[in-house]
């Protein structure tokens, strides 16, 4: 088996936040902690793209490199996990992570920083698999039940894929090939939305379905708009 990975298809993500909700619900994540979130670039502008972001379970994880107490470990399946009993909540991992994955519970009015919390790829942590202790600290261990992460399995458009890196990259490769073969809009517009996500075979070279191409922007698009 290759390493466990997430892959988000920005052409298909519709910013429904179903993955975020699924994660929250599955692991009973407290308020203020978002193990997963959806980032949208150029929100509200035609051509906007969204991507679901959480811990990417890096092969050479910077959080692991900077942790002063070495509470991180990588499982045989390539999932980056940590021991909360050892974490001192220093926040170095947060500064090191390029995805902003490490989260710190903000308890109390003054935001006391607690032990780090992050996506576990639904693989729990260093407690007995499926035990109440594991659930309380790390959330549900779906991998030990033979299931994939809740966010990916929940994704309605299957924009977010999770699992064995070889398998999901094959699924994605197949998808890209098929939708490219179906064709996208012609007429000079940049393929976007349904066209780039699924292809649009009804569109012929003679004409373009109304409203399917991007309008020429009258003004420069706002840069770095995020939600």
């Amino acid at each position: 088996m290759a390493r466990m990975k997430f892959l988000c298809d920005a052409e298909r993500c519709i910013e429904c936040n179903g993955c975020v909700t699924a994660c929250k619900q599955e692991h009973d994540v407290p308020w203020g902690v978002n193990r997963r979130r959806v980032v949208t670039i150029n929100d509200g502008v035609p051509g906007e793209r969204s991507i679901s972001v959480a811990c990417m379970h890096c092969s050479d994880a910077p959080c692991m490199a900077v942790c002063p107490v070495d509470c991180f470990y990588r499982t045989e399946e390539g999932v980056v996990l940590h021991d909360k009993d050892l974490c001192i909540g220093c926040g170095y991992c947060f500064y090191a992570c390029p995805f902003g994955a490490p989260q710190f519970p903000q308890m109390g009015a003054f935001g006391v920083r607690g032990k780090m919390d992050k996506c576990t790829f639904c693989a729990g942590g260093p407690e007995k698999d499926g035990s109440p202790e594991e659930f309380a600290k790390y959330g549900r261990n779906r991998l030990s039940e033979g299931k994939l992460p809740a966010c990916a399995e929940m994704c309605s458009t299957k924009a977010l894929l999770g699992g064995d890196g070889d398998v999901i990259s094959e699924i994605y490769r197949n998808r890209v090939t098929l939708r490219a073969a179906r064709g996208t809009t012609s007429g000079g517009g940049v393929p976007w939305g349904w066209d780039s996500a699924y292809g649009r075979p009804s569109v012929t070279a003679a004409g373009t379905a109304p409203g399917t191409t991007l309008p020429a922007p009258a003004a420069p698009a706002p840069s770095g708009g995020k939600s």
């Binding site: 070495d70 699924i171 998808r175």
Partner: protein, 73 residues
């Protein structure tokens, strides 16, 4: 008889003093290595009971459920 009494007392004294000793509270730190509790692989417990091949098969089947091109056929 006296020997046994002395031996028992010596043993009790040894155990008593051992109880007074202090456990090392200093982490035997090895830079760059994981210092936390060991974890078990996901297939160690039920329902797979250590059968890694069965777990990998289950995961492969599950992953294909994300491939809607296959699912709709």
């Amino acid at each position: 008889m006296k020997f046994y009494v002395v031996a028992i007392l010596a043993g009790a004294l040894f155990l008593g003093l051992a109880g007074c000793s202090e456990r090392s509270q200093v982490v035997n730190y090895k830079q760059g290595t994981y210092q936390g509790k060991p974890d078990t692989p996901p297939y160690a417990g039920p329902p797979y009971n250590g059968d890694r091949a069965a777990w990998e098969r289950a995961m492969a089947v599950r992953a294909q459920a994300q491939n809607e091109y296959k699912r709709v056929k």
